[in-house]
Symmetry: C2
Subunit: 207 residues, 2 copies
DNA sequence: CGCGTGATTGAAACCCTTCAAGTTTAGTGG
DNA sequence: CCACTAAACTTGAAGGGTTTCAATCACGCG
């Protein structure tokens, strides 16, 4: 575990951030809007392997991955960890239980790499909708897309073997496996680390 | 298959519908708004076992179940059917692929019982947001809730045995099993009909 | 009554897990 | 720089849960 990340945030101008480009590029928020909303978001550098949120806590933020990699996990009744999803650059992570029902979080969110995370206040979407016509609509589409992605994952869990799910994962998220320990991928796929190891061996032979 | 459902829609006043009560009860749309939006929704009686949408078609509507039961399914690569979800009274069903990317649908949606379905034009949410302050926010929360439900299902598929998933299903949707053929529940749970039969036998013995 | 669909039951095969033992790898301190 | 250690990954053998295929049973409907 390396803590080489020192703050060099002063070198980063708003226009250079992925966060800005993400919304600005889609014509959803212009620079003026960003400046108006500035009280509602903060960039933070977070070292590797650090929790942004633990189960039981209440989340006050939505997280945007400016740089690095997050994983959200839960503990199941058997006490083992399940990977809910990964989030790399340009992805949002939110704990919806906590944000919208004011329930304690059921998930853990932590960094896998040294990361730069935008902490977005939960009021951000509402305020942004007031400022920008198109923000509400855009946000809506993001949620819809999220639902679609989950639907596909459910379908893969319903109908595919572990090997097929792994191959689909590689195809869908080709950059994630290089950055994530294998046992986390196994957990994401719903198999044991041993099984994934054997699956990889099998694939290697067949090529 | 029975086609006993003849149109007696004239007996149904808007105020008596679940659709109206659903939004009105939450203070999201008042009667006036409903009347304004009338061009954007239609009540239809649909016989049992009838497709509202087939894979490959483009969906123009969101469906609200006024009465009855819908199931949405996909065909996987192996040619067998997977149950994505059920929808009974007060539930919405939407094919998001089709509605928001204008892609052909990847799912089938059909009635399991004789049903009354509200065909809601895809423009309804946008127009309703313009009319009602709170609609957009409410709609947003619905999507969030949807994501949460799916997240729980993913977790159950990752960490639970077939038996545990079945018991959870019974607990979560106690009225569905009475109205749905067993093989569809098996498909929803990601097991074969034979396995579900054995699981039920086992549960019956242990009581 | 007979047909078809859905549900059940059995036996064999298969996929995946479990547990236990190695091997590799990366980070640590001498 | 090398040896040490812990964690991750690999490999093997045994066992369990689920599937597959086939046969049988139950039921509603023409």
């Amino acid at each position: 575990m390396r803590y080489i990340y020192k703050s060099d945030m002063h070198e980063m101008t708003l226009e250079n951030t992925r966060f800005y480009q993400y919304y600005q590029g889609k014509g959803v928020l212009n620079k003026e809007s960003f400046l108006d909303l500035q009280p509602l978001y903060t960039f933070k550098k977070i070292p590797e392997n650090t929790y942004l949120l633990r189960a039981g806590e209440k989340s006050q933020h939505i997280y945007f991955v400016e740089k690095g990699l997050l994983v959200s996990t839960t503990l199941n009744e058997k006490g083992s960890e399940n990977v809910i999803h990964f989030a790399s650059e340009d992805w949002f992570v939110a704990e919806r239980n906590s944000l919208f029902d004011d329930q304690p979080s059921s998930v853990y969110i932590k960094t896998i790499e040294p990361s730069t995370i935008v902490y977005i206040d939960k009021e951000f979407p509402r305020k942004a909708s007031e400022i920008s016509e198109s923000f509400g609509c855009f946000n809506d589409q993001m949620l819809q897309k999220n639902i679609l992605v989950q639907e596909r994952r459910i379908q893969s869990l319903l109908s595919m073997s572990a090997k097929e799910r792994y191959l689909l994962f590689l195809k869908t998220y080709p950059n994630i496996p290089l950055r994530v320990p294998q046992w986390m991928i196994a957990s994401y796929l719903g198999v044991t680390p041993e099984s994934l190891s054997r699956i990889r061996k099998e694939i290697a032979y067949s090529e």
